[in-house]
Subunit: 427 residues, 2 copies
Amino acid sequence: MRLSQYFLPLLKETPNDAQIVSHRLMLRAGMIRQLQSGIYNWLPLGLRVLKKIESIIRDEMDKAGALELLMPTIQPAELWHESGRYEAYGKEMLRMKDRHEREVVFGPTAEEVVGDIFRKNIKSYKDLPKNLYNIQWKFRDEIRPRFGVMRGREFLMKDAYSFDMDFESAKKSYDSMYKSYLKIFKRMGLKVIPVQADTGPIGGNLSHEFQVLAQTGESEIYYEKELETLLLQDEIDIEKLQKYYAAADEKHEQQETKIPPHKLNKTRGIEVGHVFYFGTKYSKAMNIAVKNNKGEDVFPEMGSYGIGVSRLVGAVIEANHDEAGIIWPESIAPFKVGIINLKTNDENSTKMCDGFYGKLQEKNIEVLYDDREESTGAKFAAQDLIGTPYQIIIGPRGAAAGKLELKNRRTGERVELSPEEALAKLI
Amino acid sequence: MRLSQYFLPLLKETPNDAQIVSHRLMLRAGMIRQLQSGIYNWLPLGLRVLKKIESIIRDEMDKAGALELLMPTIQPAELWHESGRYEAYGKEMLRMKDRHEREVVFGPTAEEVVGDIFRKNIKSYKDLPKNLYNIQWKFRDEIRPRFGVMRGREFLMKDAYSFDMDFESAKKSYDSMYKSYLKIFKRMGLKVIPVQADTGPIGGNLSHEFQVLAQTGESEIYYEKELETLLLQDEIDIEKLQKYYAAADEKHEQQETKIPPHKLNKTRGIEVGHVFYFGTKYSKAMNIAVKNNKGEDVFPEMGSYGIGVSRLVGAVIEANHDEAGIIWPESIAPFKVGIINLKTNDENSTKMCDGFYGKLQEKNIEVLYDDREESTGAKFAAQDLIGTPYQIIIGPRGAAAGKLELKNRRTGERVELSPEEALAKLI
């Protein structure tokens, strides 16, 4: 993509209304624009990141055997009456009436809808276990939306729902998602700690939140130091992992942990995922039953598993930035390479830039070529701000000698190379 | 994908409430399930098709230089007051109030929102022309939703918006979309006729609907017979094309055409796309201005370009089916290949099936392997119903001789081949 043809409205000034760094950087880097409180337009650069995160999640969900479907945003209120959550959900649920005066809601989550699909289409134990997921926009009418996409009202969520015949099988489904979540966040370059979470009236310890370690996080979390070492391993032993202590502030009780304080890390986290086992709560309430091998009706054991897809964009930035801007992990960078033409009116420079741009495109490497007539400073600042992992810098002196510079955004390292050498490093 | 692990609730009975063939087949093939009137869940098989159609559209839009962004579903009512359409849109627009009593709507289209993005971020003629598009769910509260996804209330639309400095440039943007649309529909194996459409109070002839020829279509269309020949050519001369007569019933006037009736085809069509030039209607109403090269404010000339993404799934089926079920064009088939194991308890058959399944997966060929313990008849019927373009049939007799059968869903042709020969044909 040539920057002169792109839509990338960068801001020089720091927006006043943005309190945290990810919000500020997403606005400055032209990734998002607010449409109204807690509701954002995703501009081309932001959308590229959102889609990459989405596809990593999709890939790991599919590998775990979950099946993707898509549920609508508008749900009938009657399903919420049936599950008993219509009143309980309160003002966070956006409610409305259609032209025929039927009550509908903008789905804040989809246990009811997926339960309805399940009970109408799956009748036998032979079809279980099943894990159905979708990646769809949700709406929660937060009273005070803030922190940009980190706590928005309309947000993109991956929500999965598992159905099993008994607890043992349900626990396997739970652990499979738990494991997938660790893989997903690792692929995004995130350091994530799964912490025990409140399960509310259901009890049990089968609820974990996945917290990105970031100083700007909303929750305080406590975890045994050894957990970090364990999480770095390639093959993760979940049973072992789940035995270590890790809890968010609302759950943490120093007296009760029995873990000596010097073995505990206390830090801040951003919740990006939540896995939850809730047994037969919804299957009983909504009469979701299947026949077992004796022909008897059984209520499946259910779990739900959420990832905040749009929130992750902010969370990754919270964990990956410096004074100059965003530092994208390569797996979700909007463009892998940026090309900076230091002098657009120098024939050699422009020729070398155009040539290198063409080569990258041939190799299907995503590249943003800054061909604008702007100052050198503005071009450096733009690539640093938007966080392109690799920058190719081409100017008259180097071009005359057949050389360019390759800069690594994260390390700041700059090396002089021939175009061929640079290309080899980028493939 | 092994069918035993998939979620594919096929229906043997024809659903009573489905009036047209695409609706019936989408229900029977387990592609969709109604959540409520005009609102559908997309089950895994249906979602695969929807996503393929989406990605063909995205690919051609990107090739045409349009830039993808994503606008939220919930829009502030005030933008609609500004454009003057809040009252005019009537009951088709789903309106609601959020918890702070602010009026919002579920976007039925996005001229207002894209206009707002544009005016806040683009200030100079240097940034024009621009074509911004998104693929997002829309809501139109049809009084009588029907025909399944063909006239639903919540539907997926690709909507693009062009901004140009003058009419000449706007016409180029229009023609570029017109040309892309022809390519998009061609890639889906659809025969589409662009017909002149009503432009309403704006006048001019810059509005075309793209109609899929299908006997079950809602509109009656008239077009010069020579158009068909022209549309079959690889390189399409748009100027020439646009000179031929083609109109939908509400626009057609036999007396005024001057085309003798024997040169006209009269048939039925399903509208799947619409391109529309509306000049400065919205830029004036919403004060969307950019500076020209003299520093003066200019209202950009705008156009909008829609494709009914979810509707296309139905339209393709209307144009591609037989008694037994759907016949997918390869480019959008949910799975390219189906494997039918005629006898799951025969060791040779199962071994050959498993082996061929593995080979296809290695080659990244999408395959649905019917490994269920079902009758041969049920398996044949299932693959025909869901419209898999190529079926691999493996039974004890063939397997013992190292042979399988390859069936072409469209032609019905069946050939006996070795697995290697079959694989070579499918790659």
